[in-house]
Symmetry: C2
Subunit: 589 residues, 2 copies
């Protein structure tokens, strides 16, 4: 091995040492007959000085170098004079006097500067991803991703889990997102699917007697992408036999505690809060509540149940509700125009409007005040714990619209009014999810999670009589308003799995056709089992304090699922298609 030291880790302890450095030229400055370069490697930066008193030849070579040249430098570490200390650099108290320099590779002028803060268009950064990734912010993100992954593995290894690999070329199944398909050459007309998750394989691993499985698993969904979705993503996939949901949640939160401690040196207090789904909706208007701040929903349907105000009245009459946010002390800061903007905001979520009242001089004022009785006003003030100077914002509508619009408005106001303590890591579990969701259009139930989720035992009976009220033995892990993932106890008895397929509208034949192997496996000693799956990319995003999921994925795809660097997807040859027995369905064929 060479005597190379990592450039960015040199300190005063290396003074007088001869070092061999290899790296990239971050910056070159010519000053008073000397040349200074900041040399960059994966560990950071160090200043190298070319001085004709030491080597005229090195100086002459240094005159040719430009930003992003790759160079090898032999030199000596020296202390800087105190007046030239650079506190912005870890290596700011030393520099390296170059004796020799070799240019290993040249560089054209990069299409954008390699600096921490950038306003370069993302498309350009993705096309030149290998340049963008040289920025220290991204270097740090992928170090953190590495550390996080290892912390997760170490925890699970110590806990007796085996890391196991499940197939990427799998069977296409309905009842989920859209599959990516892979045509088979050996079996023309047939296709593999890329897995949306290793769900069925991890259940089969339990049926294989392994008891404790995990995998940092690549998953695929061919869905239209949002800012926080990617066609391929990574999940921490865990399954266990014989554990209860309580035990799985307890194990998972110990894992996350360890990760946050190792990576961020922050202590998470356990046990985590467990909040039933309905409570999360009622208090925060969200099934993934950001609990770093208050501004909770206040429900006033009972107070205004007899109101003559038509907006309230009709919402309640139609089975909906009336709720409000009490924006403390902000009455004076929101003009009518400001509130109009908030009204536009909630309309996106289906609300027809945003009623408001201000408590000023101990009196509720605002356009709707005149429709409310004194008793109703008193009731509202009491429920909302309103004080002078508070602004009350009402939505009256179908329940789902009240939750969605006030939940979103709460988050917006939380950010706008700076109510959120960004240093907090507020984890919580959301539990007691509904097992099924009724789809009005298709006139049938769908699995809220997936069709292998077990109902809670007390609700078994209601699967026939009242499916909509059956709760799932499922749990989601939420952090700062983001769903990190979730899990459930799975169905492990054939009769229950058959019943579940029936409730979902499968004929026995369809169930056998799609999931026959699972139903059969359940007949050969399937153990009780359950697990959890957490989105690694999102965990990294939150731990790194970033807001763009693409910054956490080494080579991400755009919103149209393109890789701008390699130009994928791309056309392929007819010979390739012929071998696969497929044709393009274009108009001119």
């Amino acid at each position: 091995m060479s005597n190379r030291l990592l450039d960015g880790t040199l300190t005063e302890e290396n003074i007088d040492q001869n070092v061999l450095l290899k790296g990239w030229v971050q910056k070159r400055r010519d000053l008073g007959g000397l040349i200074f370069i900041d040399l960059r490697d994966k560990s950071g930066l160090v200043q190298v000085v070319f001085n004709p008193d030491f080597s005229q030849e090195a100086l002459e070579t240094a005159e040719k170098i430009r930003s992003e040249y790759v160079v090898e430098i032999n030199g000596q570490v020296v202390g800087r004079e105190e007046s030239t200390y650079n506190p912005a650099m870890k290596t700011g108290k030393i520099e390296v006097i170059a004796n020799e320099i070799t240019i290993l590779n040249k560089s054209k002028t990069p299409p954008f500067a390699i600096q921490d803060e950038t306003d370069v268009a993302e498309d350009l950064r993705l096309k030149y991803r290998y340049i963008d990734l040289r920025r220290s912010a991204l270097q740090e993100t992928f170090k953190l991703r590495h550390q996080t992954t290892q912390a997760i593995r170490n925890f699970l290894n110590d806990d007796g889990f085996l890391e196991m690999e499940t197939p990427i070329l799998t069977k296409s199944t309905p009842e989920g997102a859209r599959d990516y398909l892979v045509p088979s050459r050996v079996h023309p007309g047939e296709f593999y699917a890329l897995p949306q998750s290793p769900q069925l394989f991890k259940q089969l691993i339990m049926m294989s007697g392994f008891e404790k499985y995990y995998q940092i698993a690549r998953c695929f969904r061919d869905e239209d992408l949002r800012a926080d979705r990617q066609p391929e993503f990574t999940q921490v996939d865990i399954e266990t036999s014989f554990m209860t949901s309580d035990e799985i949640m307890e194990m998972t939160e110990r894992m996350m505690q360890k990760v946050v401690k190792e990576v961020k040196d922050i202590d998470i207090e356990l046990p985590l809060v467990r909040m039933p789904y309905q409570e999360a909706m009622d208090r925060f208007g969200s099934d993934k509540p950001d609990t770093r701040f208050g501004l909770e929903l206040v429900h006033v349907s009972d107070v205004v149940a007899a109101s003559t105000f038509k907006v309230f009245q009709s919402a309640i009459d139609n089975g909906g509700k009336v709720a409000l946010l009490n924006v403390k002390g902000e009455a004076g800061n929101f003009s009518r125009k400001d509130i109009d903007k908030l009204t536009d905001f909630v309309k996106v979520y289906g609300a027809k409007g945003l009623a408001w009242l201000k408590l000023e001089d101990n009196e509720l004022k605002g356009p709707i005040a005149k429709f409310l009785t004194e008793e109703e006003k008193e009731g509202i003030v009491k429920k909302a714990e309103a004080k002078d100077g508070d602004l009350l914002l009402f939505v009256a509508d179908k329940n789902s619209i009240v939750y969605d619009s006030l939940g979103a408005l709460r988050l917006k106001l939380g950010k706008d009014l700076d109510l959120i303590d960004e240093s907090k890591f507020n984890f919580l579990w959301v539990t007691d999810w509904p097992l099924l969701e009724y789809d009005e259009e298709q006139g049938r139930f769908f699995a809220a999670h997936h069709p292998f989720t077990s109902p809670v035992e007390e609700d078994y009976d209601k699967l026939d009589s009242d499916p909509a009220s059956v709760r799932a033995n499922a749990y989601d892990l939420v952090l700062n308003g983001y769903e990190l993932g979730g899990g459930s106890i799975r169905i492990y008895q054939k009769e229950m799995q058959n019943k579940m397929f029936k409730v979902l509208g499968f004929t026995q034949e369809e169930a056998e056709e799609q999931f026959g192997f699972l139903l059969e496996a359940l007949e050969y000693g399937a153990p009780p089992h359950g697990g959890v799956a957490l989105g690694l990319d999102r965990i990294i995003m939150l731990l790194a304090g970033r807001s763009n999921l693409r910054d956490t994925i080494l080579f991400p795809k755009t919103a149209s699922a393109s890789d701008l660097l390699t130009a994928a997807p791309s056309a392929v040859s007819n010979a390739q298609l012929n071998e696969l027995g497929i044709r393009l369905d274009s108009k001119d064929q």
Copy 2:
């Protein structure tokens, strides 16, 4: 957490403890009014006794249980009488007296018995993979796979490598094996390809400044399968910047040393032998020599250069060679019929025949003896270091046929004659590979490894003048006659990469079309870099002492790339195909 103890780890130290056990019924025996079951979990087996004196109810439940039922048992650990110790079981000195038993799930009679040695057809075992995996031999293999993976990771983590994930949905490129393709819904008519390896991405990671990357990476090749190939396989993928090939080999062998020590407790001596490709061919007739035994090729072309024996003469005249194996002391054990069988064997490898001589009573005897002069015979005996009783087997042909046939014959005889010490782990590096291979049919050179492999520096000049003689800066790691993988220093300068594409017959346009992003990346400060990739499945196969690659993959595919468990690949709906803009190319459309 429950007070559950792992069944197979109970020892005499647990005597008198009350335990809660969960697992599978391996076997039930009724004896003298008692019922005995062997209860199995992931840690092994323990005997449970149902005795009416302790619990009549438990006994009655136990009467209903069958093999592979999943049960939960409350009981007490007791020592066995010494006369009933079972030395075949780790828990053989104790048993558990059951107080309670709950049947968690039933099982039909499994399609085959769950036992270590099995002669059940592999197709049936693959269809019921979740039952086959319950066998302890497979349980142990996947524990070993887990341990091996973690040992590799720990080594690389400690050495400053970052684990990084490269895309699975990538761009299709020519110049390799056949790609698996994935049609794009968003870009109709375009396709992603599943990666044959992360080769270009790991090079881009080096250009991104990360310097030390690894990944336990899934790779895909749509090739016709042999026993030791799978459509998806896993490789330990490593890339580094600024390291020489010597340094990469040194690092890799330290990694393998650590793995073998941790997993098998066997010491591998370093440095490993490095054998040039040509030496491997000359001595072992193979570029992946099994060096656990001798029986090396003996080259006698010079001795018989002037021979009048037509077979020798024409081989040499046509640029080929004459070589032999000296099968020590076996002259008396091989009849003419036995040798005829060996002749049939080498014919598979293209040899026209197998000449032979036996050294008996200090005289070379056999059908070809009469064609050889005394001087030639003496020369052969001397070169082969033949002693009385030795059998000499000759192939005279084109060089490649001599190597292939004698290399294969050597392996066959090594096995048949029990010359191989199966306890040995003989690693070695094969180096100095040819960079290019000429394809007579297509009339052009192909990259022997891949088009990104760097020539050795001394041979740069010969790329134009004598491409066939250019050596690659590449190295393969071989273990016991299997290629575990290999690597190379990559081309990192645009001019050299362009020259390489030209030698391979690409027009500049074709090179830009397929690899434009790489050529462009080489212009922006690409560091010198190289790496290695090792087949994890094959490493596991050899460490586990198995001969079937499918035994090392959790859910493997058959030779026709089918998953017999889930029945993949399968037909998909027309709606799915329509969304992707493709049609099946069947005759009736």
